[in-house]
């Protein structure tokens, strides 16, 4: 077939590099490699300990495959029930708190001082992992699920109020002005011009946060804030891996089920 006989001079082609400046390019590459080398070398690996651990890992897997739901069923039942109730209450409370704080954190509808306070609360909640927050609430309320509920509700604010505020900042300003022009007060403006534009997404995000809260409710117990977490930690400390396996299976099943349900709900909302 027609082979191309190239009359054009010998022309080279190389894929142009992602970063044009060679100094910067090699700087980034070498910097990354040096960091990786330092990071890896700072990880101490005790191979004898791991060898012993692998044997334990084998026992653990065997135990997970024959989970023991029975022998500590009472503890498991209480823990799981606590986790579930904590999830429900904290999500509801979190949503109720997120709406005013989210409104307050939207630059286009509130004065600056309120904006700064609400943003501050959100940043505080987003920065600290749930367990760190739980430590503080346990100090305040003592051990038990109430601290867990407060933790998860507070963490919900950081997630929900932030996204709500971002949504509100992006709403169409025309209805806002139209309702204001009718002489409506601030509250009426919010209910008629702002909430209709963001409410569907708010419900979707709340359902999504329910999933997250369920997952987190399984761990805040590690610092004493209620739920299945403390039972789980105890089983590990006592090497009761068959009970631990049972708890893990329950957690995974619950998370999967709520995720399926919430995916359905969110799909219907769209």
């Amino acid at each position: 077939m027609a082979e191309i006989t190239s009359p054009s001079p010998y022309r080279r082609w190389r894929k142009p590099p992602l970063i044009k400046n060679p100094w910067l390019r090699w700087g980034v590459v070498i910097g990354a490699l040096v960091y990786l080398a330092l990071a890896i070398s700072s990880v101490s690996v005790d191979s004898a300990r791991i060898a012993r651990g692998l044997e334990r890992g084998g026992r653990m897997i065997a135990a997970f495959l024959q989970p023991d739901f029975v022998s500590r069923w009472d503890d498991i039942q209480i823990g799981v029930l606590e986790s579930l109730t904590m999830t429900v209450v904290s999500t509801i409370a979190g949503v109720l708190l997120s709406v005013p704080i989210g409104l307050g954190a939207a630059r286009n509808i509130v004065p600056t001082p309120i904006y700064l306070i609400c943003r501050g609360i959100i940043t505080l909640s987003r920065t600290f992992q749930e367990v760190v927050i739980a430590i503080v609430f346990v100090v305040m309320f003592g051990f038990g699920p109430l601290a867990g509920v407060c933790t998860l509700a507070f963490a919900t604010i950081g997630f929900l109020a932030k996204l709500l505020a971002e949504d509100i900042e992006e709403i169409d300003p025309a209805p806002l002005e139209a309702i204001r022009a009718t002489g409506a007060g601030w509250l009426k403006t919010i209910t008629y011009a702002v909430m209709p534009q963001v409410s569907a997404r708010l419900v979707g995000l709340s359902v999504y946060r329910f999933d997250i809260n369920l997952r987190e409710s399984a761990i805040v117990g590690i610092v004493g804030a209620g739920g299945i977490g403390s039972t789980l930690q105890t089983t590990f400390n006592r090497y009761d891996y068959d009970v631990a396996g049972a708890i893990l299976i329950i957690i995974i099943t619950l998370v999967m089920m709520t995720e399926l349900v919430s995916a359905q709900i969110r799909k219907r909302l769209q």
């Binding site: 077939m1 027609a2 082979e3 191309i4 190239s6 009359p7 054009s8 010998y10 022309r11 080279r12 082609w13 190389r14 894929k15 142009p16």
Partner: protein
């Protein structure tokens, strides 16, 4: 050189796209395939390189029976069949050069292609083709920065760098404005003539096909209902292919040398 015998394609949904199509294309011949949407044009050319698996029937390219090939042999024969697409089907985030060189993938091994180390002969060919289709200034531009006509030129270069024996062209102008459409059709037919390629062009724009192509095949509901020269397409024939319509208007314009660009469809 291409022989299709009694080709049938039935989709799992139960729709029959092709009902025993037989067709031969000679060396260097350019054929336009016309017909209404859903007539099976697209399915027919995709059966030739088995992007769509035919239900029954045989396809021969020279003395190779395409329909009997194993996956590895099929990849080998696909290198000899270039394809040009309606929506250009470029990889948007790759550069023009990378898109053109992707036509050589069947000839290089995986690591060569991964590190973009194509043989210098391929790169020479790519430069020559890009000069030929008028894109030498866009070599390291990303494909999504180009206009529709420019993208289709990249698509043409990608198909031709395969050094194909046969070119399959699927609605090359459907996403282009009338002027660019004619430029692209002219480019494809000229390149085919230069290289002595056999070409099958799916096209719904009858006047455009009549302008550039010597043989037209009409497809209706998966069957060939016309096979002949462009001027044999009388209003009666067109009605047979597309259903009843007043064809006079468009016939009148195509009779002229430069038909009005608005009188298409």
């Amino acid at each position: 050189m291409l022989r299709i015998e009694q080709l049938v394609k039935r989709y799992p949904t139960g729709d029959t796209a092709l009902r025993g199509v037989s067709l031969s294309v000679a060396e260097g011949q350019v054929v336009a395939l016309i017909g209404p949407s859903g007539a099976g044009k697209s399915t027919l050319i995709r059966c030739v390189n088995r992007l769509v698996e035919p239900t029954s029937g045989k396809i021969w390219l020279r003395d190779t029976e395409i329909t009997a090939l194993h996956p590895r042999q099929l990849r080998r024969i696909r290198r000899r069949i270039g394809m040009i697409f309606q929506e250009y089907a470029l990889v948007e985030r790759l550069s023009v050069m990378e898109n053109v060189l992707s036509g050589r993938l069947g000839y290089v091994n995986f690591w060569q292609s991964w590190f973009r180390r194509f043989p210098q002969t391929d790169i020479d060919q790519a430069f020559t083709l890009l000069d030929r289709v008028g894109l030498s200034d866009f070599i390291d531009k990303r494909a999504d920065e180009l206009s529709g006509g420019q993208r289709q030129r990249v698509g043409i270069a990608r198909a031709l760098i395969q050094s194909p024996d046969l070119l399959l062209v699927d609605e090359p102008t459907a996403s282009l404005d009338p002027k660019t459409s004619r430029q692209i059709m002219r480019l494809i037919t000229e390149l085919a003539r230069e290289r002595g390629l056999a070409v099958i062009i799916n096209i719904h724009d009858v006047p455009l096909a009549q302008m550039f192509v010597q043989r037209i095949v009409g497809l209706r509901a998966g069957e060939i209902v016309y096979d002949g020269p462009p001027d044999g397409l009388t209003p009666d024939r067109l009605s047979e292919i597309y259903g009843a319509e007043d064809w006079g208007a468009s016939q009148a314009t195509t009779a002229e040398q430069e038909p009005s660009l608005t009188a298409q469809e």
